[in-house]
Amino acid sequence: MKKRTFALVFLLASSVGALALAQTRATPHPPRHASSQPQIQPIAAPEEHGKDVEEEPPPAPFKFFDTQILNNKQPPYAAVLLNFVLLALIYYRFGKKPIAEALKERKHSIASAIENAQKILREAKQRSKRYRAKLEQVDADMDEAKQSLASTGEGEAHALFANAEEKAKRIARDAQFLLEQEKKQTQIDLLRATVEDATKQAEALLRSNVTSQDHERLAEEFLKQLEADYAGGLG
């Protein structure tokens, strides 16, 4: 019921306001020089003519309330005020709740956004702090790495040097061993060749110098040895 009444009032006010506005637009402007007789317009210079055209007519007298609403050049101020009040009421009636909810929601979203932003800011600060600490640590790490590399390189150099020394000693030892082996083998070969040669020469000497008396003597020696060795029997 209340809503119907309100709607009726709203329609009425709107129609009155609209009618007033329509009349205002429909009413032509009065002539610049209100006069019943036609006047001959003097031909003015172009400059003067331009000046006349741009001049605005003076505003109509202010009316707060007028009974002749319909045929009025200017709507009364009260109608305009009423119109505005009605509009404000309509806005208040229908727009209060959704606007409040929207604002509330907006408030929440802004709050959460702020919270997120704060969270991101905190994280960014922490990250920045961490990175700064890391940056500070980088120099120390770099120095440490340099020292470590230097000490490692030094150690490797020592190890390489020791290894090379050991290898050189081993090579020298092997060479010495090979030399001794070669020396021994040469001595053996020389001795073998000498012995072979000596026995060949001895054989040749024996063959040429052994006489029949020597053969007989050797045979007698064999007999004596046989008797000495096997005096007790052959078994």
Binding site: V195, H215, E216, Q225, G233
Partner: protein, 180 residues
């Protein structure tokens, strides 16, 4: 079965046949002659041991050898049997074993004496007497000559070898001088 085992079997069989026929010495002599002929001739060995030579040809060769050497029937048959069974290569070993068995049968000791040159008979008599005294058996000496010995004597009695040759002494000296 090893060749020595086979040779011993043939020698034992020949020994039994010789004893049963009372002609063991002749059989030993015949077999020894055939074996020496086989061992001394490389051409004969090549012909008899060549598998490409026909069996009849080999038999004819052996028959001819036996005829020329005038060996007895038993020796000839034994030789032909060896030819039939492709055992001719065993002839020298069979002859050696047969001789050893014959000597053992008679209680003889066979000694092989090798010298560089032929020595005086007095030496061989002394050697024979010495060997008979120390072995207490009758000894038969097989005399051989090998100039490679240079000098001295090599005596072989069965498996026993007594070597006093100059060649062996020189070899011993050489081995003693050389390092191991």
């Amino acid at each position: 079965m090893s060749a020595a085992h086979v040779s011993r079997r043939y020698a034992r069989a020949l020994l039994d046949i010789g004893m049963s026929e009372n002609g063991l010495d002749a059989l030993v002599s015949d077999v020894t002659k055939i074996a020496e002929t086989f061992a001394s001739s490389a051409d004969l060995r090549a012909a008899l041991l060549n598998p490409e030579v026909a069996h009849t040809a080999r038999k004819a060769i052996l028959t001819e050898i036996c005829a020329k050497l005038a060996v007895g029937k038993t020796a000839r048959n034994a030789t032909l049997l060896l030819g039939d069974r492709n055992r001719v290569a065993l002839l020298p070993e069979i002859a050696h074993m047969l001789r050893e068995m014959n000597d053992a049968q008679k209680g003889l000791l066979r000694a092989e004496v090798t010298t560089a040159v032929a020595l005086s008979d007095a030496f061989y008599q002394k050697l024979l007497a010495t060997l008979e005294r120390i072995s207490k058996k009758r000894v038969v000496l097989d005399k051989k000559h090998d100039p490679a010995l240079i000098g001295g004597v090599v005596l072989r009695i069965g498996d026993l070898v007594l070597d006093s040759s100059l060649k062996t002494r020189l070899d011993g000296l050489k081995h003693a001088l050389l390092p191991n």
